[in-house]
Amino acid sequence: MGGEVVSGGIGRSVRRPDGPDKVSGAFPYAGDLRVPGMLQARTLRSPHPRARIGRIDTAAARRLPGVAAVVTAADVPGVATYGLIVADQPVFAATEVRYAGEPVAAVAAVDAATARRALAAIEVDYEPLRPSTDPERVLAADAEPLHPAGNLFREIDIRHGEPGVDGPVVVEDHYVVGMQDQAFLAPEAALVSPAADGGVDLRVATQWLHSDREQLAACLGIPENLVRLTLAGVGGAFGGREDVTVQIHGALLARAAGAPVRIAYDRVESFLGHPHRHPARMWFRHTATADGELVSVQARLVMDGGAYASSSPAVLANAVTHAAGPYRVPHARLHGVVVRTNNPPCGAMRGFGVPQVTIGHEAQMDRLADALGLDPVELRARNAVRPGDVLPTGQVLGAPLPARELIQLVAARPLPPPPAADVTGLARPGGLPAAAEPGRVRRGVGYALAYKNLLFSEGMDDSSAARVRLDLTDDGTPRVRVHSACAEVGQGFVTIAGQIARTELGVEQVDLAPADTAVGSAGSTSASRQTWMSGGAVRGACVAVADRLLARVARAAGLPAEVVEAPRRTLRIAAGEIVGVEAGLRVRLADALAEGPIEADYTFHHRRTTALGADGQGDPHVAFAGAAHRAVVDVDIDLGLVRVVSMALAQDCGTVLNPLSLRGQVEGGTAQGLGLALMEELVTVDGVVTNPNFHDYLLPTIADVPDLDFVAVTEPQPDAPYGVKGVGEAPTCTAAPAIVAAIRAAVGRDLRRVPVRPQDLVDLPTRADVHTAGDASTA
């Protein structure tokens, strides 16, 4: 439509309205919300990874002055369990705890210190049981079921081409990916208020208001319309807010106490409270012709889902269907299981199963290139998928997916200058304090190519609804109000919604209403889907509003009925006016709206996909986005410390709606992949997380993340509004394997584990070595 003259439309680097407040510290995150008379909540969590619960005695806690409510499993009035896909997780453990950190009770008190004392006063009789923490053992015939639903969340076996066909060149190995955490900076928080109508109002940081509502209503045993949620300020999500954490506990406490409750996690509780990225153990076997054409790929994946299902079944589908990577593979057998253990639950995290398999298939491609004596870029380019190719699921790859162009583009970017002896200490591996000696630093360059599915898969209709209203302000200026339940978690809907409305309606002033459950579901802010899905909903609602307005003007101008029926053919909105050149008509928007506002709802659906059938065949994914990274690293070969010197990224982005926002997404995705490659890992010992804090769980800082050399490939995606693609996940999938490849090139060691640890890169003394040497020196 006639948006060409309105500033701040699509394609512009519109600034985030919350940007200055976030930078200056004034932005109210969910944990900053306060209301008078508010109680403070705390959650009691199991210290044991597995235990039978004999008795929970809350009497002493209830008697403490200042304690307003204590709730346990016995106080859940509705369904006792919840979950994103299957409701297998108890709101509170009743008879058995299945992971260390599982909630057992919660309290609300006048202040946090009293709430803490109340937790200490709750007596729980645990009978510790031996935890099952090895994902490769829980499916054994004699393995004990850890839950009535059994230990297998899902198994997928994709058979493609003919079995047993091999090429003459074979590479085969095992790979391990550790447990990454979303580690968003603002911990989980909600402010929950009981309402006079028996319902409950929540202001909460979440990724999916309507999914929260559904699970809340079921567990509270009240109708959904009595559960009202409004999005509070979200400080990062990355998948970690897709599952319910504070919501049900807070609502139970608020209803029991009859008072508003603030439930907010501290850092340790945040690390224990939400599901993590699935650790994976993977085996791959790739075969190729002597010319470097892939012949077959076999993969076996074991993913550790932890104690409860969360989104494990969907994560596995992503991992297995992407296991061969964006390559043409005539024959494939891709098998995966995701299992239940007594480790912490794992679920959604940026990339959703794909970053794990990318570590494997990209290491394999490099080793295949070595075996063939081919350049790793050339091998990838030669085998890259093209639209029209049949993927291992039988799905025919749609356009665009410029995989070959991406890897070639990134390889053509200028390389950074070689390491200079006089670089400052900060620019050496380990930074200033490690004092790496320039002569003991080796440089490496590595590449990775991947693709990531967009939107929900396997037949899901994850539609998004939006409501758009066009009216006049008190001073008679046209204004658009967009109402969507799309959770803004940093991805940029706060600018995109307005950019679309300005473009479609030619109105500068766009107000985005708070995201809440008073409008239909926008689906989850995940799966790279909101710009496409909720952007599509906003656009559809804007188009409906424009059509009604144009019809109104046509009718008022006495234009023929066929024009009123399809006014767009004759009339258009431009520069605050409705213009019909042929009809000789020109009406100010404000005059057209004087008669009253216009409002429309629209629900956007993506194309239908299908579930995976027998042999893992189907049409499971709506579309894909490709990415290729090149990493350059320096390694201190004495200490095994790695510094990432430069990162280049070529990404398949579709039409770019907001270049600045795109840049934020790809830089963030790259940084999160860098974290996975080098440092981010929750370490468990016998099921217990040993590092639930930012002292021992390290995130990359600005000193670790180099400037990103970024090239966007902008071929429009058919069926998506304006031709957009989701952009947040693909770079997370490629950053880590590119860095691992660069380290491998620098040190000449095969690396089979991510994160790569310094100890994996050096020859270590053994206890025996050291003691022998010590004896010799004293002799």
Partner: protein
């Protein structure tokens, strides 16, 4: 004060004497008291409930704790001196360097020397440096001032009614180096740290390693080796000696008992290895290395075990 809950009271003495009186009164009445310096350890601990205090004695207004000074032979650093205050202090370049790599700039602006001693975190950067520096800790209690070697202070802990007022160490007699590693490029807690101090006057080299034991450990055997190996008239040593020095540190690190329990970052074997590498590097930075004898590699890994 919010962090400690509604029941806590905050006192803000202006002199060491007042602070000690407050501590003594709290001690006599049996109230739980916490000393607040920069708050980088205490405030998070109070927030999380890991610690609780009915009384908090905040020391920032005690100006006499914020003084650093030099005597003829020694440096005295008040307990309230921050890491930022130490950064760039020309009288103690080694300490300045250790202070400069503590945490983030925010931590350095508020964290204090007294806090480093009071919290005594085993990975504490300053603690490793002070261990190598043979530092003494000065305290004041109702029984009067007291002065004790750092190891004794760390072993006995601070009496509940006492206050660390300062730390004292010898003026540098030669090069001093502090190195550490910890998993990223900047703003990290040390996994392994190493301080090497050379005293050209007394013909002495001291070395402490953090991250292998519960507290930083002195490397006695390596120190003795250095004393015998260095040409003290010129401050030179053969480059093969740097490697041997590192090897001795690896062996000593592996023998430290009790060892630091296995943590999420760095296996024990890696920490021994890294201790040797850092010690070899620090040694080489403090001394002039002469060319190795014929047949030896110019520069080798400091890891143990190689012939």
């Amino acid at each position: 004060m919010m962090a400690g809950g509604k029941s806590s009271a905050m006192f803000r003495p202006r002199t060491v004497g007042e602070a000690v009186e407050m501590l003594a009164a709290a001690h006599e009445s049996g109230t739980a008291v916490a000393l607040l310096g920069g708050g980088t350890d205490l405030v998070p601990a109070l927030r999380s409930g890991e610690r609780s205090a009915e009384t908090v004695v905040a020391l920032r207004r005690v100006l006499e704790l914020r003084v650093r000074g030099a005597g003829a032979d020694s440096l005295t650093i008040g307990a309230g001196v921050t890491y930022t205050d130490l950064d760039g202090w020309s009288l103690s370049p080694g300490l300045a360097r250790a202070a400069r790599v503590v945490g983030s700039v925010q931590i350095r602006n508020t964290g204090t020397v007294g806090g480093a001693l009071g919290s005594a975190r085993p990975g504490g950067d300053l603690l490793t440096f002070l261990t190598a520096a043979d530092a003494e800790v000065l305290t004041v209690s109702p029984r009067g001032p007291e002065r004790m070697p750092l190891p004794r202070f760390l072993a006995d802990g601070l009496a509940p009614d006492a206050l660390v007022t300062a730390v004292r160490l010898a003026r540098p007699g030669g090069p001093q180096v502090y190195l550490k590693i910890g998993g990223r490029q900047a703003a990290y807690p040390a996994v392994v740290s190493c301080a090497v101090l050379v005293d050209r006057v007394r013909h002495r080299l001291t070395c402490a390693i953090g991250g292998v034991g519960l507290l930083p450990v002195r490397m006695g055997e390596a120190e003795r080796y250095a004393r015998d190996e260095v040409d003290w008239s010129t401050g030179t040593v053969s480059s093969s000696a740097a490697r041997r020095f590192g090897d001795l540190v690896v062996e000593a690190a592996a023998r430290v008992s009790p060892a630091l329990p296995a943590g999420p970052r760095g296996s024990a074997e890696y920490r021994w290895h890294a201790a040797g590498v850092l010690a070899g590097r620090a040694f080489a930075r403090c001394l002039h290395l002469t060319a190795p004898p014929v047949g030896e590699p110019a520069r080798g890994s400091a890891a143990g075990g190689q012939p």
